[in-house]
Each structure stands twice: as structure tokens, then as C-alpha cells.
Amino acid sequence: MGNQKKAPRFSGILKGMFGTGEGNFLEEEALQSPARVTVRSFFSRPTAVFGLVVFVLIFLLVMIGPRYMPIDLGHSDSNLANIAPGCHMMDIPGEMLDEGIADIAAGQTYGVGLSNAGKIYTWGYTRVSNAIDLRDVPEELTTGGVNVRHMAAGNDHAVAIDRDNQFYFWGSNRLNQHMYQSNAELNRALLLGNLEIKQLEAGNQFTALLDTKGNLYLWGNASNADLGCRQSERETEGMDHAPRTFQGNIEKIAVTSNAYVCLLKDGTVAYTGYQKDSPLNANLPAQLQNGSVKVVDIAASSQCAAAVDDTGRVWVWGAGTRGEKDVPEMADHPVKIYGGRYHFTALLQNGGVVSWGDNMYGQAAVPASVQEGQIVNLFCGGYQNYAVTARGEVKTWGLKGFLCGTDEQGRDILSRIVNGGKITMTVGGIAVVIATLIGVILGGAAGYFGGKTDLIISRAAEVIGGMPFLPFALILSAAIPKEVSNTQRMYIIMVVLGALSWVSTFRLVRAQIFSQREQEYVTAAKALGVKESAILRRHILPNVMSVLLVSVTLDFATCMLTESTLSYLGFGITAPTPTWGNMLNTCNDSIVIQQYWWRWVFPAAIFGLCTVCINLIGDGLRDAMDPRSNGR
């Protein structure tokens, strides 16, 4: 720093950076201020400029990004857990569009389609586990050689039935979703050969089938779904109206995530399962049961059921908490209703479409082009909506996919990276400010007063600096009481990091002041009678500032690293608040590392890039300020 004897005044810096526009080339060369030399030297280094540009980009992303990508900390969705990166969940294959769409079954994150040529196509995120992929459709179905009549897509399995009542299953069969033989009544009907299928539904771990006679057949996971349709009303349980018969009387069924409701032929709705405490049963409006309104269509979301009556009124009941019950005003009578996982979509008499419910992924935001187009067919399910227009075009709205995939709780990794980056950077930044303040004040005091003050502060710094950093930080954050909120915890972590990392700044400032005090020009200034305060301000401070700038930059990276290490170990900022560190703390096993690579690659990459860039900036600054260190 010996070459930088003059205080770079603010106006000087400005002039240095932008030039004054006066004076010829030689003059300019001769009168370059140290600040200008530094800036020019800094910008002549490609690595430093690269670091600066990339860092600024990342900084802007994490500071502005959260405004457009607000995060709901309480959100989690097991159905969307560990989804690979991609935005193709509703991309129907071009060949299928060419052949014309006969039927679409929308699963949670994928779709199964039947073309007019009788071929079955799949698209979207079809992977269920390492071994099971819904893309692996039985080969005979993909050639168009089988005359498929019905198909359905569930959470992790798909079903198709051909004209000859031949069953095809693919996907997961872990819970006997494929064991249709286990249903004795269905077996009997198949043996007699008089089964005419009306509706096929695939739920979460079970499959349901309705025949034209109004009989319902269910098979699959009996512990989750109340499989089996009760033959008659619960007379013994004290229901006050006349018993009805369900089997043989069912018009349509609607499947929620673990139960189902039935529309009966007389226009009433019944919950025919065994769980009488189910909200689908307990909250079922009386009007729908006693025949005072005539229901024309029913649908179900994961926890709710909805019904449309012949006057156009929409009834929603069940345990929905994501806006499924907030039925909007509709321009016309709804005639048909469809259910997704957390939303409903209704087709109106005039051909319009209305969606409501959870809009986290745009499931309830019907595009304007759908409103205008003549909709002939509508398919909904999971988080997806497909509307087929009269011209054969398909309009989609809903979840397209996740650019960076999702984590083990179904949370969007991109949004967590953006929001977590803001927290990591804020914590790192404020910790550095705290550390620098402590370091400068104590270092300044030690360097300025010297003697006893210096001795005491230096010894204290030696004790704190001599203690192993990480264990010390761990114990401090373990001492934070459990009751404090996550935000308070964040502030405490900032202070802890700041209070532990001031030692290097302190040493630097103290050494710099000491070495500057010994310089001849300071002695000369003293001899000339310059006041002590002026010497400090004009000669010593600028020299301290320049080294400080470098150390602050490098410390910023260090503080971010420390915060993320603490969070990674589970002692920093804790879930659900995301940081780049704690996003990685669930990735610490070989299964995640290998199979769900997106869960650690993206946060690690952006974090690594960020710290590399900060270090490049710091190195560039140091080299720019101290020409002697060039190339070191």
C-alpha cells in the first residue's frame, strides 16, 4: 500500500472513474489518482470482471427474485416430491396430436393419452421409482392393435381396458392396484361375460370400475381406501331417511385421494364407503341426499367433492383448504365438472370454462384463448387441465413442471434457491458488517492508543482467535433457545458469526495502523505540526480502508460459507426457512446423491459459483490495489 499516499477523495474517485473530459492524454496519464489506477487495474483483469459480473447477476437474482417467486414456508406436497427438472408435464406428443385426441387421463405429474388411431401415449414426469416408470406402457397398447375403450391414470399406476374387457396395468402394483381378480363380484361378472364398463377410475393406490348396470367394483390398497361399496344405507346407524340401494344404482363415481363419492341414478349423491366420519360423508349437504335438488355431475379433488345440480348451482363439500370451496361467479350454468388435486374446473353451457381452487401452479388460471375457443372436450386431473377445441387444438393450463426439480417435500428447488440465496447473502453480509465494525473499532483502538489497551485487546483477540471456530459457532447456536422464531434465530446467527469472525479484521487494522504510524511521511507530517486527528483522517484511514475493502470482500465469502456450513449441520438457520446450506442437509446419502442429483447439484452449483466469484473479486481488488502482489 506504500504507493497510495494520498487520500482518495470522493470527487477524486468519481473523476477517476468517469474522467473529467478536460486535459490532454499526457496530463491525464500523469495525474491519475490512486483510486483511478485501482479501478482501471481492476477492470483490466478478466477474471475479476467475470467475478463481478456473475456475482452482480446472482445478487440481483436473489434480491429481486423473491418478489416474483414468493415462498410459502408451510407448503409441502408429498405428491410432487423428488421430481426431476423439466417443464414438459403437459406436452402432449406431436404424433398424438396429429392422430387426433380420443381421450386423456391426467395423472399427478404426467398424462396418458389415447389417440384416434387407438395408440396410447404418455408424457410428463412418469418416473415412479428406480424400477417403475409409467412410460413403460404395455407394448401392444402403443401399436394401435388393441381397441382400448377405457383408460385411467392414478397416482402411480395406469389402467386400460379394451373392448373385450381385457385389462392392462402398468406403473406401480405394490399395493395390488392391478389385482382386479381380487374382487369376487367383478370376477363373476367377467366370467358371465355380461360386464359392460361405463367408467374407469384410478385413484391413489386403488382402481375403481363402474358398469352400465350401476355396479361399482373396487380393488387395490384396502388400508387406505375404503374399498367395497356398501349394499344399503346405514339403517342401524340411525339415519332417518329411507334405506336406498347403492349397487346397481350408481351413475357416476368421483375419486378423491383415498375415498370416493357416487352420483346415483335418481340424481342424489351418496358416500357409499365405510368411513362414516369422513368429511365427504359428514359434510355432505342434506339437499344432495334427500332428492330436493337433482345433481347432474360430480367431481372430486384430493379432499373435496363437488356436484353440479340442474339449476346450475355448484355444491362443494369435504375437507378442502386450498380454495376448492370458493366457487366463483359463473357467466352461465355449468353443465359438467372436473376435479384436479386441489382445483375444480367446470364446463359451462355456453362452452366457457371456469377453474377455481389452488392456483399455486396456475391450475385455476384459465387462459384467455380457452374462453374464446369452442371447447369440445375437457380433461382434468392432478395439477393439469387439457381443453380440446373444435379444431382439435389442445390448450393446457396448470403445472408444467419444475425447472430445477423438487425436493423431498415437493417444494420447488428453484424458488428455494432464489429465496434461500437472499437469506444466505443477507446473513453473510450483515455478519461481515458486524465483524468489520468490531474489528475496525477494536483494531483502531489498539493501534491508536497502543500500550496497555493494545495488550488487553490483543490478548482477548488471541483467545477468541485461538479457539477452533466451527465447534465454537456450533455451541453458540446450540445455546439459542428453541422458542425463538426463525427470524429471530436468523438475527442471532448473524450476530454470532459477526462476533466470532472479527479477529482477522482486527489484526489487519491494527497491523496497518502500526505500520503506517512508523512511516516517514507520518513523522514528517507530525514534524510539520499537522494535528493528530488530521493525520489519522488523511493518511492512516485511507490506507486502512484499502486493505479493509479486500478483507471485507473475502470475509463475505467466508461468512457465507460458515453460515451454510452451520445450516448444513443443522445448527444455523433451520427448515423450513431455506438457505443454500440447509437445502443440502437432506442430501447427505448416496441415494439422493445419485438418483435425485438435482436436489444437491443446483444449490451447490449456484453457491459455489457465488463464492468463487466473490473470491475472484477479492483477489482482483487486492492485486489492483497492490501492484507488487501482481501474479502472486
Binding site: 485461538g466 479457539m467 477452533p468 455451541i475 446450540a478 460459507l561 443440502l584 446423491i593 453457491f607
Partner: protein, 339 residues
Amino acid sequence: MAKYIAKRLVYIVLVFFVASFLMYCLFSLIPSDPARSQLEGLKQSLKPEAYQQMYQQLRERMGLDDPLVVRYARWIGCMPDKQTGELDGVLQGNFGYSLMRQKDCLEVIKTPMANTILLNVFSTILTLLVTIPLGIWCAVHKGRKLDQGVQAFTILGYSLPQYIIALIFIYVFAVLLRWFPVNGAATPGNPYTGLRALLDRLYYMALPMLVALFGALGGMSRYVRASMIEALSMDCIRTARAKGVRERVVIYSHAWRNALLPVVTSIIGWFLSVFSGSVVLENVFGLNGMGSLYIKALNASDAELCLAIQMFYTVVALLGNLITDLAYGIVDPRIRVNR
């Protein structure tokens, strides 16, 4: 030299007491109640009042309500224990009782301590063996393509947090190439003894050691390179070369002796960070070391065990300081005279 060593020793002992007192204060912040946990079994069989009374008596007997300084003095072993009336503290070799494992802390930390020391000693040796020659080579061949490559590469080492390096290394070397095991400390259920057992453990430690090496590559080799460049630009080097001294001698005898001093300084900081850094490594690789035990103890609020482990870290840090100070004295003759 003897006076210098004596001075440093006195200083270290002083720092030990200050640091351990600080630690004790910190750990008293962790909510932990040995009296309550000792009475936990009796809680159901006693009436609330009787339980409360017994609890207070036990607190009194254990001296839990005494001032912090008194408790510290008891714990460190400068004041007699309240129950036995004998000096029984850290200085006497009693590190307390681990509530988590229901054993004496000393018993609990024995194996992890051996593991951690083994890991760190080997990784220190490995790192020094690699970084110092690399730093010297880069300094001598400064500006060449390979040197620039190494410099760019080493930035990664000190910019990336250790756990990210570990994740990448696990992915590449354990999952993709299958050269090393993903985690663990030794082949489960192996019958090996002697050298074979040591080799087996080293095989399991190879990946953590590589990760530590990669991290240290950035800091250490850059530091060696910088101080070598500084040393090589000294006048005495030019003189030596002018005299016609062989280049090898110039580099390893003249320049390296001068460059050693700042390198030794940086080893202090690095040595400390190796031990505390192994907290991360042990957790990532599932090694049964002090670091992973520390995390478990912190999670279980086992204050006495934490304190014992923390004392281990502190002692290691102080020893590191002492060794560096002594090395300083050996490397730089001026220090012996001046201090």
C-alpha cells in the same frame, strides 16, 4: 530458547484457563438439568411435593445453584467436589458424565478421539506432502500455463464449502467410479487385524482425506506459492544465482528457508481449521469421530459431553499454537533473541 519456551508455556496455560472458563459459561447456557434427569425414574412413584423437595435437595447436594465461578472451579478441579469433598475435575482426569450414553465422558470420547486424530494426522501429512511441493513448483514456474491452471483450480478449493466438495467427490469417486466406499469407518464385520486393519481403515478414510486435501490445496498451496515468489525475488537469491549456485540449491536451500516463515504462520490457522473442519467431514462420511459425536451431543443437550469434546478442541488448538510457536523459534532465529 528455554526462556522463550517457558514464556510460551505459561501463556498457553493461562489461555487454557481463560478459554475453559469461557467454554464453561457457554455450556451453562445449554438447558440441561442433571438433577432432574437423575430423579426422572422416581417421578412417577413420588408425590409432587416430595419429588420437588428431593429435587431441591439433590440440586443443593450437587451444587447446581452455586455461583458460576464456584461450579467452574469444581469442574476444572481447583475446588473440592461438594459430595465427595475431593478434588475431582478435569485436571484430575474426570471430564464428567455423559447423560446421552450413560457413561463417563472419557469412556465415550476414547474411540472417536482416536479416529479423529488418525484422520487428521494422516490428512495433515498428505496435505503438506502435496501442497508444499506444488506451491514451490508453481512459484518457480510462475506464469506458465500449468501454473495458471493450478491457480484457477485451487480457487475452487477455498471457495467451495467442504461439504459441497464432499458431495461431489462422493458422487464421482464413490457412486460413479466406485473406487471408494460412500461412508463408514471400516468394512463391517471384518476379521482383519494389525496392518490389514489399518489399511482397511485408511481405505475408508481415503475419500475424506482427499476432500480435506482438495480444500487445503486452495489455501495452503497458494500461500506457499506466494511466499516462495516473495523469497525468490530477494536480493540474496540474485546474488546466489550470480555466484553460479545450482538452481536446486537456490530454490530449496536459499529461497525455501526464507519462505518457510510465513508458511509456518499459516499452518497455525490451517491446523486449527483441519480439526474443526473434520466436524463436517465426519458428518458427511458418517465417521465415528469427535465431530459427529459433538453434533450428537449438542442435539441431545448433553452439556458435560459437549464440554469434554470442546475441551479436546481447545487443547488441540492450544497445542497447535504452541507447536507453531516452537517451530517459529526453530525456523527464525530472531524470535529466540527478541522475545
